[in-house]
């Protein structure tokens, strides 16, 4: 099977008058169709930059990104629902921009609103939704464009812990059931293990791939929440944690690095 996405020796730096900051260095990986890849790493390791590159918002300085005839949808860290639009007008924003507001697509969006429990809020203002509902609306906005690859940039980090678990479980299942290819960026290791088929561990800046860890569970088809209750979960969590910890020592274990490690 051919990979849907290939990153070949990607490097990227940010430039300012004060100098150059290398964000990513020599990143190589492939993603298969229908696969859920989680990317973890300390803050500032270029995780979000990687998604912007895949989405095509920025160009890599060197290396190539091949997206084989697939469209890419990007879900940002915050929901960014536009307050001056109703929930319905927010979820159809992408369709509106791409001039795809056909009756079939409208029907599809209405169906999604129904499936994800937002049907009664379609005429409401975004401020009337709870944090979890807002995130679901943001997901519908992304899914409405029927992307083949879904990029998720810490999509749950703005939620409180309980909602975060629920929405993570919710959205993880939605993506799996829809058979979408997804790349999730997170600094939450348990989130990565509970949702991913593979976890890519990035080093501290400049981000390089330290390890790619396949995640398999004895029992198949577990939801993210169910995965959290297995013994494999804890073993994977510890392995990834050790990988990241080793990183801190490698770069000289400054206090900043260790502080970041604790929050991970």
């Amino acid at each position: 099977m051919n990979p849907i996405l290939t990153l070949d020796q990607i490097s990227f730096s940010y430039h300012s008058l004060d100098g150059e900051t290398a964000a990513l260095e020599n990143i190589n990986f492939q993603v298969m169709k229908g696969e859920f890849v989680a990317i973890v790493g300390p803050s500032g390791c270029g995780k979000s930059t990687l998604l912007s590159l895949i989405c095509g918002l920025i160009e890599p300085e060197s290396g190539t990104i091949r997206v084989d005839g697939a469209s890419v949808g990007y879900m940002l860290q915050k929901d960014h629902l536009l307050e001056w639009r109703t929930v319905y007008d927010n979820v159809t924003l992408g369709l509106e921009i791409q001039h795809k507001l056909t009756p079939e697509n409208k029907e599809k969006v209405l169906k999604m609103l129904k499936t994800y429990g937002l049907e009664h809020f379609k005429r409401s203002a975004p401020s009337e939704l709870s944090g979890g509902m807002r995130q679901r609306a943001a997901l519908i906005r992304t899914l409405a464009l029927e992307p083949d690859i879904l990029l998720l940039d810490e999509p749950f980090s703005a939620l409180d812990y309980q909602t975060r678990l629920e929405v993570g479980d919710d959205i993880g299942s939605i993506i799996r059931n829809a058979g979408k290819t997804a790349i999730l960026v997170t600094h939450d290791l348990s989130e990565a293990v509970s949702m991913g088929d593979r976890v890519i561990i990035l080093s501290h800046r400049p981000g390089t791939i330290k390890k790619i860890m396949p995640i398999t569970f004895e029992e198949k088809g577990l939801s993210p929440m169910q995965r959290r209750n297995t013994k494999e979960f804890h073993s994977y969590f510890n392995q990834i944690w050790k990988e990241l910890k080793g990183d801190g020592e490698a770069v000289g274990s400054t206090s900043k690095v260790s502080a970041e490690r604790e929050t991970s």
């Binding site: 918002l57 860290q77 915050k78 960014h80 536009l82 001056w84 924003l93 921009i97 791409q98």
Partner: protein
Amino acid sequence: MEKLSAAQAKFLLKEKRHKQKVFFLRILILILFIAVWEAAARGGLINDFIFSSPSRIGSLFLTMAKDGSIFYHIGVTLMETVASFLLVTVLGLLLAILLWSNKGISETLEPYLVVLNSLPKSALAPVLIVWLGNNLKTIIVVGIIIAVFGSIITLTTGFLGVDQDKIKLIYTLGGKKKDVLSKVLVPSSIPIIISTMKVNIGLCLVGIIIGEFLAANKGLGYLIIYGSQVFKMDLVMLSIIVLCVLSAILYYFITMLEKKVKKKF
């Protein structure tokens, strides 16, 4: 409706009393001012030929209302103000969008804008009369230049302050710069656009009066200058009072617009 608790009812009553008191005091100040002015003029404390008096202003208003001349002058000033206000709003928005969309242009023009904005624009009015002539066009242009530079600067600053992530959102959805403009930039800047309009309506009126001082044979500014030259202080005072009322009404309209829009944004 739910029944109010005793404490809530008491609170509401207190608030209502307070509002009534403020309203009463406001009216009282106005009445006292008029009464003292009138009494001082009649008692000979002030010379009513120089300071005029409320009764003289009132009777002049009645005379001018009967032959319609006061409404003619109000109409002229109002039309000029509204015209320059609309032009300032459109020009300010268009130029601010241009400056937002092109970093090169905005950085190049910045020092010129700052200088033009801090320049006392009334200094340009005599130049404009020479260039454009002694006519309506000049007056409206004076109204425009007084307000337009400030609004370009305020609007551009507002545009540049729009949440970068919301702009990123539009790009992730496959949008272009024009989508950013119509879907995020303008809607999220509505409050700042309205507050700029609030400032502009007053500034335009200032510009129009300055213009009328210099280059008009009609309008309230003309009446003030004409009145002072021929020592008809009643006419000057009447025009100033009408001007007060006019500016209050114009401001009120923008506030109404703001209330209407605020519900949505």
